[in-house]
Amino acid sequence: MDVPSEYRATKASQKRRPKSQKMGQPPQQMQPQQQPYYNDFDMQNQQQQNYMQHFGQPDMFYGGYNPSFAGASGPEQLAQQYLNDPMANMAMQYGSSLAGQGKDIVNKNLEKVMSSSKVKYYFAVDTAYVGKKLGLLFFPFTHSDWSIRYNQDEPVAPRYEINAPDLYIPCMAFVTYILVAGMVLGTQDRFTPEQLGTQASSALVWLIIELLAFSLSLYVMNLKSGIKYLDIIAYCGYKFVGMTVSLLAGVMSSKTVYYCVLLWFCISLVFFLMRTLRVQIVPQEVDDGHTRGTKRSLYFLLTVSLAQPLLMWWLSSSIMIYRKL
């Protein structure tokens, strides 16, 4: 019977229910095995002990306060009991251990989804890289070399390789887009703080839909490529740069300027994405059915690139379109 008692003491938080039934059976027999856990095991305080074990961790203070429970009288003793209540101690210990366990579980699961070192790779940028990448997003037509240097099967950090994707620009562009949208709505007298939340959530939802659609289509079309999910998020996030600039241009001058700037950014983003993704998706052509493979990947590329202008127009025109009224 040694194993069940130890098991009970360690798995306290998960096994509360069966323990209460087990304790009902032969409490006297449990006595000798529990000596190492309890300082003072009285036959009188059997009930107290049973109840306290439900909390799992045995309280070391318990032994000292046994007599006070047995002979409680007088208001000051009651107050003393209440303050030094081992139940409270045990409850606090239980609560803190539960919190610690919860935090461990969250950390473990988060590590599985997004390991922090992988995400850190996307943020290892510096000012020169960001400047050049923004220039590339504005005007990609003169850039000639789109390949990415690899460092032992891992892309080189964005700091040193301008063609590598990063997550700093998409994150900042997304937040800027939300704020600029709020500002534009403010100049149209349509602004309430809830609008910020609405715009943010709708843009995020479209981003997630894009991510799911592209991952699914990559899987379905059986295109083996080295693109990871975070890369896809990065590429889909680059359109927020164009949307932000076109919104700013539109709010400072007329609507036609907004449409012109939007068109320019659509074209340059399509070009940028096609050039970048062609390097990443199409390298394996030596497999079976190579002509079919390249056609499929070309279609995929076209779909990805053309979906971006559609979403750019959809999300930003809902901000601008009310100016007619």
Partner: protein
């Protein structure tokens, strides 16, 4: 005083002891001056401050080589709120929706974010990333400016 002079470089020991009293005073002063111009926005200030601090915490943990603690972030962002308090006091006297107001707002936001990024960069030893850190700070202070103007 490092906050009020954004052009001078700060030494890296300046944020060794983080205190939250100054930032709290500045937040209350900001809320009080907004109250003077008739806007009861205390809840928004706390909410935006919290969200901004959380966002900066995540970003700086991802961007710097060694991590940051939340106390440093809160105290830097809170101390650099001081120019924003000046802006909101001036909003009581003159309306900020004209061109003069726009210029004033832009100058204040840039002042806040440059000094905040200077403190962050010197405290965390991140090279050649000051502008990158200044941009999110500018966004956070821009939201505060939005509260002040509209």
């Amino acid at each position: 005083m490092a906050v009020l002079n954004p052009l001078k470089s700060a030494e890296h020991t300046i944020m060794q002891d983080t205190d939250l009293a100054g930032p709290l005073v500045f937040c209350l002063a900001f809320g009080g001056s907004l109250l003077l111009s008739g806007k009861l926005h205390f809840g928004y200030i706390y909410g935006i401050g919290l969200v901004g601090c959380l966002a900066m915490y995540c970003l700086l943990n991802l961007m710097s080589l060694n991590g940051v603690s939340a106390g440093i972030i809160v105290s830097v962002l809170g101390y650099c709120l001081l120019p924003m308090v000046f802006l909101s006091f001036s909003a009581v006297l003159l309306s900020l929706k004209g061109v003069v107001g726009l210029v004033l707002v832009i100058v204040t936001v840039m002042w806040c974010s440059v000094s905040a990024s200077k403190l962050f960069v010197s405290a965390l030893a991140m090279d050649s990333q000051q502008l990158l850190v200044a941009y999110p700070c500018a966004l956070v202070y821009g939201v505060f400016a939005l509260l002040t103007v509209f």
